[in-house]
């Protein structure tokens, strides 16, 4: 039991690393093999994750909407999402005649690949991280903004007016909300002094930033959750899909597996933004510690770090899911008003406050 709790994933990865080098030599081959292993394990992890998120979304929706949700296929309806995926796989993937076929087929790939790339610097547990690069947070913000190109591409190449409108909306929306996301991330960075994900997590050993950083961190956290909900095009900011206005927005013309890829990326993005929010503000895999309460901290350490990370992430996912099933959708001009007139000025003032706290050393 003790062994399991203190088990570090780094020993496993170093074992694999050593074995690869011994069998393939210290060259390109081992590196490529490692990348393939990471890629496969990522996909193996992501597909069940998305299944679970899809199932969770339905159950949360059902819970809020006085109904039962899926309850026929498999135990408690858990296999419903698998059945739906199989259906999507077997569906004919139509490509409209008038569309730009190359861009049309490329767009879903770009969207999925970018959302998978963002997983790289996320610390899932203690010493369990794909790539702990020194500019982790910057990497996340820059890679995630590539997804908008995929969406624009999908909307433009579909040769559909609704798709085009949806894509144009998403362009304006994602570009705007990235500012708030960036600024709220920055307010954590000024306190940690590092862009590296592992450093950010380690800096929260004595308490999470949301508790240590006073009011500015709370404001940052709220702004981050709002802006990232907009960034991943989820209700109430789902203007790019806006079913009631644009039928399905940028993915109106997509069907079958190509459509499933957009769906997949939506859930991966949901997980990613929640994971980043958990890492920045709620301490990532770091257990809940209170100052010098040694006994309490020790008990908290007994809970495995991966459970801490997943718990925090799913807490934020749950909040974002509740947004979707509660709020009506904003109008496109109100969406931009919210960003440029409210969130952006608030985050600018907020980052000044955070800087002041960092300089004066007022944080705990």
């Amino acid at each position: 039991m003790r062994l399991l709790l203190t088990y570090s994933f780094s020993s496993l990865s170093s074992h694999i690393h050593a074995w690869l080098i011994s069998s393939m030599g210290d060259g390109m081959a081992a590196l490529v093999a490692e990348m393939v292993i990471v890629g496969i394990s990522l996909i193996v992890f992501l597909v069940p994750l998305c299944f679970f998120l899809g199932y969770m979304e339905r159950k949360v929706a059902a819970f809020m909407q006085l109904r039962l949700g899926p309850n026929r296929v498999g135990p408690k309806g858990s296999m419903q999402i698998v059945a739906d995926t199989v259906k999507l796989l077997f569906k004919e993937g139509l490509t409209p005649t008038a569309s730009d076929k190359f861009l049309f087929n490329l767009a879903p790939v770009i969207v999925v690949v970018t959302s998978m790339l963002v997983m790289a610097p996320i610390a899932f547990a203690k010493d369990f991280q794909i790539w702990d690069l020194s500019i982790g947070v910057l990497y996340v913000t820059s890679i995630s903004s590539i997804a908008v190109i995929g969406i624009l591409m999908a909307g433009w190449s579909s040769y559909n007016k609704y798709s085009l409108l949806g894509a144009m909306r998403s362009g304006a929306q994602i570009v705007s909300y990235e500012l708030s996301i960036g600024l709220s991330i920055l307010s954590v960075i000024v306190l940690t002094g590092s862009l590296k994900m592992s450093d950010i997590v380690m800096s929260q050993q004595n308490g999470w930033w949301i508790f240590k950083g006073h009011l500015p961190m709370w404001i940052s956290f709220v702004i981050f959750v709002i802006a990232s909900t907009a960034e991943i095009n989820r209700a109430p900011f789902d203007l790019t899909e806006a079913e009631q206005e644009l039928t399905a927005g940028f993915h109106t013309e997509y069907s079958g597996m190509k459509f499933a890829m957009f769906l997949l990326s939506e859930y991966i993005n949901l997980f990613v933004v929640s994971a980043i929010a958990a890492t920045l503000f709620l301490g990532g895999w770091m257990p809940f510690h209170i100052g010098h309460w040694e006994l309490f901290n020790h008990i908290m350490d007994f809970i495995p770090s991966s459970i801490w990370f997943m718990g925090k992430t799913f807490f934020i996912i749950f909040i974002i899911m509740q947004f979707r099933w509660t709020f009506p959708r904003l109008r496109v001009d109100q969406l931009l008003t919210l960003e440029w007139k409210y969130l952006l000025p608030i985050s600018m003032v907020n980052i000044l406050l955070a800087t002041l706290i960092a300089i004066m050393g007022w944080h705990f």
Binding site: A61, Q65, L66, P236, E243, Q334
Partner: protein
């Protein structure tokens, strides 16, 4: 612009979108042609006829007993009230009146229909504005009303309960108890409607000041019902031309002067309270007696023209019968509320955004088969 050719953008740089006839928020086969400048609407042109079933022409070959039930398929959400209008018009021609018991049952049924229709509208408004959950809250109460309908009329949507001279059968023994239960349930749950949608900042932003219709415009477009009353037009047929003894019950005509989507929303929400109050006044006072006045097997209206108007959940429904003395009408014309209400959409939507158009359509509470008939 090679990818998006000239067929997408007109010579004036306008972007033309055909919203419908298959579109999630037109609630049926309404086809709106929209000229856009970016997201701003320059012009809206409704195209009708996708669900025209020539109910008026068809009625010319149906007997006076049968043509009533074709109207259930017009405004299917207030099927009772449509049937009632026709039954009343035939009664006017025969110069008879429904029995006191039948009249009270008719009012009760009409108000239950109005409640269920407004509940469906409320759910759909939430749905159109992007909030899915209200729909399920609305259907919880609507389902209870539908069950009452099922018990008494044998059907849930197109009840076919009204006949000239009264109602088709007597009410179910459970009717009074169940109606009281449902009224209690609605009164207990109505605050949830306000909590989840009305007070929401996003909802208020989406509806306040959107789709403004002035009193003068409302009158000139012939807008009636809650839509007209939200623009300050006092047009409740139940007050102005009382039928079935609506003059004997106490209720308020809800008026609002704002004329925007929010006003239309609030008028309907308050009308639900009024319907509940009407039902509560009558449910314990259903007179004993026959539920139907005796009429001949084959009804023949005397030669002449007969007009009857009623207040449906959407506005004023007029039934105009021209009779040549035969067993079926010579000509029938319906003045349907949705047709007139839809005509104002271009005026309301100009200069608004696409999202606003959806809000306008939602608060107009359009039922498309009623427009085409």
């Amino acid at each position: 612009m090679s990818l998006l050719g000239e067929d997408i953008v007109t010579e004036d740089g306008e972007f033309v979108i055909n919203m419908g006839p298959q579109h999630p928020s037109t609630h049926g086969v309404l086809h709106l042609k929209i000229w856009l400048d970016g997201e701003t609407i320059k012009r809206v042109q409704p195209h009708l006829g996708y669900i025209h079933r020539s109910i008026e022409k068809m009625s010319e070959n149906l007997s006076y007993r049968n043509f009533i039930f074709a109207t259930s398929r017009m405004d299917y959400l207030s099927a009772h009230i449509n049937n009632e209008a026709c039954a009343l018009c035939v009664e006017k021609g025969l110069q008879i009146e429904a029995t006191p018991r039948a009249q009270v049952i008719r009012i009760l049924m009409a108000e239950l229909t109005r409640l269920s229709s407004h509940q469906l509208w409320w759910g759909c408004t939430g749905l159109d504005l992007g909030a899915v959950t209200p729909f399920f809250y609305a259907f919880r109460e609507r389902e209870a009303i539908m069950e009452i309908m099922e018990e008494t009329c044998g059907a849930r949507l197109t009840m076919n309960y009204m006949v000239p001279g009264g109602v088709m059968y007597d009410i179910h023994p459970n009717f009074q108890k169940r109606v009281k239960d449902v009224m209690k349930q609605i009164k207990n749950n109505l605050h949830e409607y306000f909590e989840i949608l009305t007070g929401n900042v996003i909802f208020e932003n989406r509806t306040k000041g959107v789709g403004y219709l002035s009193k003068e415009d409302a009158i000139s477009y012939g807008v009636t019902g809650p839509t007209g009353r939200a623009s300050g037009v006092s047009c409740d047929v139940r007050k102005w031309f009382p039928y079935e003894g609506y003059d004997k019950v106490q209720f308020d005509e809800i008026l609002d002067n704002c004329g925007d989507c929010y006003a239309r929303y609030m008028v309907r929400m308050k009308e639900m309270d009024q319907s509940v109050s009407i039902i509560e006044q009558l449910i314990d006072n259903i007179p004993e007696g026959d539920f139907q006045t005796k009429t001949k097997n084959v009804i023949k209206l005397p030669k002449g023209e007969f007009y009857q108007r009623v207040e449906t959940a959407r506005g004023e429904l007029g039934v105009f019968i021209v009779s040549d003395g035969a067993a079926s009408p010579y000509r029938i014309k319906y003045r349907s509320p949705n047709f007139s209400n839809l005509s104002a959409i271009d005026h309301m939507a100009r200069g608004a955004k696409i999202g606003d158009l959806i809000a306008i359509m939602a608060t107009l509470d359009l039922v498309i088969p009623d427009i085409d008939r």
